[in-house]
Symmetry: C2
DNA sequence: GTTGTTGCAAACAGTTTGCACGAAA
DNA sequence: TTTCGTGCAAACTGTTTGCAACAAC
């Protein structure tokens, strides 16, 4: 397991510069919104929240797509199967999602590659990647239910 | 791994009867559409296809939700992250998805429960379930690309 | 005959697009 | 100054809801 540790604004600015992209107040605001949330947001929710700061929905949609491509936002699904995004540490991580409060914890899953090799051998697929999410109830929610 | 083997219409009728639900021509048509496809459909696609048979979109949405609850349709995500549904054998299965043609193969993943126990111990979550999809290129698509 | 289901139409929510203006570099 | 990025508004697509008519059982 890995403790989530979001990248700093300076690092983020650097990532944009490397990619030849501009670092605008809108992009910073979108990142901050996600970086400060343990639960993440659907893009529509984020667009509503950022609308108050005079950032248009189109910008939010474009920016979330950009951050996802850069590997800075990860995609999860909530209990209603809605797409949500959470800030995630770069690299290959998966998410453990609380189905009650929506809190998300990152983890690494080292067992999957073996399964992938087995499947490749048995099915003839050449495996390229995978998506794994685990659902449960976090300890705070279990305490609260008592 | 498990070879997909769809249930018969008679079995399906029985499942509906057990649940106190009616087995209508619309529900049969929705099931047939999915049962005959290796690729599955988004609900919108299914609604378009079934519209030609005078089945309204509302019915398709309601029926797909019903079949999913009954465990007869499984949810996957295509290369554009769009939700798609595929007929699946009852029980706990996962899907291997071809990112080129969309073909879906079911499999069982026996390694996950161990990971779940580890995560439960390390994070304090009580784990309830998981969702795993593996992506790759099927052998037919690899042949075709040569 | 009852009662669950359906089709329709309307309302809605989420998302994308084009383009003139504005602001990073 | 030069692009790239943004806001706005409009257009779409996907999805849900209410209700009268219909068809399983």
């Amino acid at each position: 397991m890995r403790r989530a540790e979001n990248i700093s604004i300076e690092t983020l600015r650097g990532r944009f510069a490397e990619a030849g992209l501009r670092f605008t107040r809108q992009r910073e605001a979108v990142w901050n919104l996600f970086a400060r949330s343990r639960r993440g947001f659907s893009v529509a929710e984020a667009a509503r929240a950022l609308g108050k700061k005079r950032i248009g929905p189109a910008t939010v949609y474009r920016t979330v797509a950009l951050l996802e491509e850069m590997g800075l936002l990860g995609r999860i699904h909530d209990e209603r199967h809605e797409h949500r995004f959470v800030a995630c540490t770069p690299g290959h991580v998966h998410h453990l999602v609380c189905t009650n409060c929506g809190r998300v914890v990152e983890f690494e899953a080292c067992g999957i590659p073996i399964l992938e090799r087995l499947l490749a051998a048995e099915t003839g697929f050449s495996v390229e990647g995978h998506h794994l999410e685990i659902y449960g109830i976090c300890s705070k929610c279990r305490e609260a239910a008592k």
